[in-house]
Symmetry: C2
Subunit: 203 residues, 2 copies
DNA sequence: ATATGTAATTAACACTGTTAATATAACTAT
DNA sequence: ATAGTTATATTAACAGTGTTAATTACATAT
């Protein structure tokens, strides 16, 4: 292994180390408790060192988002592989996304708060290799499967997919930011809502 | 008019002046462009003076939320007064909320970002005289009207109301924070989504 | 005129993200 | 081994943020 590769590897490892520490801060102190300086202190380096591994804070947050979504992407594919009925698959995937958001509030906040600019326009988003894109397209494929199986009314797939994304997003963010409003009954409301919307799109 | 009343009146007037300036900053510079120091400069006072009229930044933001929601509350009652069919009333109210959010992005962000603590627990929220409460209960009454008219399946009213709130919230926030994602087709998606969910809850 | 209470200000604290300039360490070529 | 080069880490600083304690200016009441 050449020296250049060794350096690159070491750099990649350090990047990982920073990322792990950053995630720990998020889990431990929440989104508001995170700062570049705090992260620097945790990894025992000066704050400016981080900037040798990440362009800026947004870049760091984006990397964390990607990790988070990569985990969910795996779960999504697992659901698809074990569930035969397309509508049930979609329902499970749907509820899983909601559960994932509610169980990882701080990571979800990172995704939500991270500037939309990092994903670029819709075209750039579609052509990107981001995990957000992968998750979106997996959902879209699930919707397409429902239409193809004749279970859904024939509509624009993107509209339906986005409607589902919107619904889960609304539920998660409202629960995270107005926790008392649903009186801890998020799961009941979630099921009711998922039922209603799937019924609404079914034939 | 006594001196004390005069002082109270003057204080109330100044409070209003601060509030108006704050709203102007939000409209002009957006949520991220707002700061207490900028507001102070605009009203030609030192930053600390604001703290004689508002407990802190959150308190100020809350006041702006209330104003914003008061306007929407009026529109909601207008819709109710002119629309005879309960389901159509709900649909219009629903779409109106979404439109209101999309047309006033910065004010909507204020509502969303303002710490949930200002509304307290659900019980405190219900007993409060906040505009958020009024809007919520108006929506709930509309849902009840649909159930009473035998148009909706008999379910917990709160669950349905919250489901509607969640959906509009999701649509608005996703459009505001991932604008390119819906490719400016928010209105199409909104109508489709509202259609689907109302169909889902109808008999 | 003096005392009282309110309102506004200055200065400061403890933070934030980020950058330019500088020092240090590591590797390359002579 | 030494000199030159490059990558990495650090210090100091900038321009902000919300907020508070201490202090001054001012209008009112005695």
């Amino acid at each position: 292994m050449g020296v250049l590769e060794k350096r690159a590897k070491r750099k990649e490892e350090f990047r990982r180390e920073i990322l792990d520490s950053a995630r720990e801060i998020f889990i431990h102190d929440g989104y508001d408790g995170f700062s570049m300086r705090k992260l620097a202190e945790k990894i025992d380096y000066s704050p400016t060192t981080i900037y040798n591994y990440f362009k800026n804070k947004d870049d760091l947050l984006f990397a964390i988002c990607e990790e988070f979504l990569a985990n969910f992407f795996d779960e999504l594919n697992h659901i698809r592989s074990v569930s035969p009925d397309p509508v049930e698959t979609l329902r499970k995937a749907f509820l899983s996304l909601i559960e994932f958001g509610l169980k990882n509030p701080n990571q979800y906040k990172v995704i939500f708060f991270t500037k939309s600019s990092v994903y670029g326009t819709h075209e750039e988003f579609v052509q990107s290799e981001s995990m957000a894109r992968n998750v979106y397209f997996t959902f879209k494929e699930m919707v397409q499967a429902c239409i193809k199986a004749g279970r859904f009314r024939e509509m624009d797939e993107d509209v339906i997919t986005q409607a589902l994304a919107i619904t889960s997003h609304g539920l998660v963010t409202l629960t995270l930011y107005r926790p008392d409003h649903l009186k801890g009954k998020s799961d009941v409301t979630a099921r009711s809502l998922v039922d209603a919307i799937l019924r609404g799109y079914q034939k």
